[in-house]
Amino acid sequence: MKRRMVCLSLVALVFVGAFSSIALGAVNWKQLQGTEIRFLMNKHPFTTFIEPKVPEFEKLTGIKVTIEAFPEDQYRNKRTIELNAGGKVDGYMIMPGQDDLHYWKAGWLQPMDGYNSDPTLTEADWNFKDFFPSFAKASSVDGKLIGIVINAETSLLAYRKDLFTKFKVKVPQTMKELEQTAKFFYGKEVDGKKMVGITLRGKGAAATSQWVDFLYSFGGSWTTPQGKSNFASSQSIAAFKFYGDLLRNYGPQGGTMLHWAESTSMFMEGKAAMIYDANVFKALYENPKESKVAGKVGYAVIPAGPAGRLPHVSNWSLSIGKTSTPERQKAAWLFIQWATNKNNSLGALLAGVPAGRASAWTSKEYKSKDDHPDWTSSTMKSFEIGQPQWNPPVINVPEIRDITGQVIVDAIEGKDVAASAKKAAELMDKKMER
């Protein structure tokens, strides 16, 4: 049955392709008028952007949309508990790299290929091919599409352009230069404030998302080809040690308690010369109401380690709840399609949310309004070379991140990193679930 559906869908797709001019606008947006759907969302800049626009969608379709948004930690808990309890969740935000295996195995993700290829449900000019292939791949499990990317993320090195010019310092191109630059700025007095060289996340599990770029760039990896933990390898240990030393020696005090909020605050207060964190935080750094460094920040791709420049890419996607009814699932698809159409993707990008659509980035409108071309070009470069596996390749991601975080904390505290990494590797081998 499924195969027949796929075949039929493919045939339909060919027809749509062949007669795209006819198919354009073929979707009857009112087909599910009167349906009510509920979306669980993370309190994220994308949610802030799309929520006020929901009445537009409701007017277009006659579908009533309820959006419930929660701060990230609570959001993850609530979403899991509600889906497990079989609550009325028609759609939700998910970071596939964090939760997709767990959610897929639990049967909470509705494959979207059927909707995407149905010309009565999907406008031809919505054009799925416009989404970056690396992100589209990251939002798939077992070859099935499970989410449409709404926020394409990577990490960038942000630095104080003004200070780099003033002190004639070049943007670091290698890990060694990164350390030297951090050392150069550490303790320098600028505007009556003592600077730190760099600020990074150091709070255990939360730090793994940026640390993983150092892991890859130093030639390390989560697991060996045999599927065992690779933390005890010399490359992985070097990555732990470099990250910990960098933060302990040239970073803020109390590095082990720095989550992204604390780390970005340091940078925005003008107390750090550099920060390595998510590219989305440009919106924070450049907000003159909250940041003292707005307009003074430059952006670059991660410096090269022994294995090269290997940043990660991650994304937030919108997914459809499998426990919902077929009708509400279709309505959820219409909503997701509308929320990620060209217009809204461009709008989100202009609002500072890195869109998953290539056309948004290359559009004339974005280019003419782009105040930070170095951020755009670095982000594009990072997308190109980005590693989609930013989390351990397991079902129990939070547990393994927690184990990893403990080594990062030990490294920041200057403990014996090799011993800590070895212990973590053993524990990881015991705990990994696939």
């Binding site: 993850r76 808990n77 899991t80 508990i81 889906l83 497990n84 767990h102 959610y103 195995k105 639990a106 909470w108 709070k203 255990g204 803020p252 005090q253 109390g254 590095g255 082990t256 308690m257 604390e262 605050s265 340091m266 207060e269 107390k271 079902i395 129990n396 939070p398 547990e399 927690d402 975080g405 403990q406 904390v409 030990d410 505290e413 679930e433």
Partner: protein, 316 residues
């Protein structure tokens, strides 16, 4: 409005026939006969569903292995309890719990008592001072904790700013494994000492006057009066206050979670926090439930000991 009396049925006295005429239905006769069962029934049924069933389910889960969402709970007998013994974080959790609770409870008790004794006298503006004093206790825990989290930040927090402005070196506060527990204890003491004070103050107000007068006539000084009269008399109240406070303190969650989430590393991760992480971050419901049961047993054991001490003190 008709007189109320008309609506009230006549008392059930009289001949057999009148009883038959006004006979209550079988239901109301049943209710009359089983009042002790019937009237508390709604509350008991509600409690059964919201307390007994979840506890029973929790107990059942402790014998299972189950990641929320992945299949059904699988019975593994005492497997979870055996795992407890090889889990380093359990031992760490117990240590942190003992350190945090031991330090904070004793400080709160000592300070609460002293401040109560100080407040238990007439002085100008005592009511205003007392009202201001209970502020921390009245404030929302999470909101207060969020503010403390910012205040304790070693780089941009106000605490280090204040220390440095008077020439003292700053502290790492909750950012160092060495100072995190004392810093959290400081917040807990600030917030909860007023509660102990309030309870003890109520106790002090109800103490008899005679022993004090007798002691003063005999020439006892303030310290002697406090040590030999106030303290023994107030002892049962103090233990009761300790029990009340310990119920919350031993399973302190919101404050620690908001300020440190158990960090740095696991330096402030109490057993209760760890059980939350296992249950709601790792979604391992079986093992998380087993940890919760251990926390419950610790709280229960502590309170049984305290209750015994209290009863003994009352007997004296």
């Amino acid at each position: 409005m008709p007189p109320l009396r008309e609506q009230i049925p006549a008392p059930r006295v009289g001949t057999k026939t009148t009883v038959m005429k006004t006979a209550p239905s079988a239901l109301s006769r049943f209710m009359d006969r089983h009042q002790a069962l019937v009237y508390p029934a709604p509350a008991v049924i509600a409690l059964f569903f919201i307390v007994i069933i979840p506890i029973a389910y929790n107990l059942y889960l402790t014998f299972t292995k189950w990641t929320i969402g992945l299949g059904q709970p699988r019975f593994i007998g005492l497997g979870n309890f055996i795992e407890l013994f090889s889990d380093e974080r359990v031992l760490n959790g117990v240590k942190v719990m003992v350190y945090f609770s031991g330090l904070s409870l004793s400080l709160e008790l000592a300070l609460g008592l002293l401040i109560a004794v100080y407040f238990n006298r007439e002085f100008k503006g005592s009511e205003i001072v007392q009202a201001i004093y209970i502020f921390p206790f009245a404030a929302t825990p999470v909101a207060v904790a969020l503010i403390w989290r910012i205040m304790l930040n070693p780089e941009i927090g106000v605490m280090n700013y204040l220390l440095r402005s008077v020439g003292l070196p700053g502290s790492l506060w909750v950012s160092s494994p060495l100072t995190v527990i004392p810093a959290l204890v400081m917040v807990d003491v600030w917030k909860w000492t007023p509660m102990i004070t309030l309870i003890v103050l109520a106790g002090l107000k109800s103490l008899p006057h005679d022993p004090y007068e007798a002691a003063r006539i005999d020439g006892a000084n303030t310290f002697q009066i406090f040590w030999h009269i106030t303290l023994p008399l107030i002892w049962p109240v103090l233990i009761a206050a300790l029990m009340l406070r310990s119920l919350d303190n031993l399973k302190e969650f919101d404050m620690i979670y908001t300020i440190t989430q158990g960090g740095p590393g696991i330096s402030s991760e109490t057993l209760y926090l760890y059980s939350y992480t296992v249950g709601f971050s790792f979604f391992k419901a079986g093992y998380g439930s087993a940890l919760m049961v251990v926390v419950f047993l610790i709280v229960l054991a502590f309170n049984m000991v305290m209750n015994r001490i209290r009863l003994r003190a009352q007997d004296l």
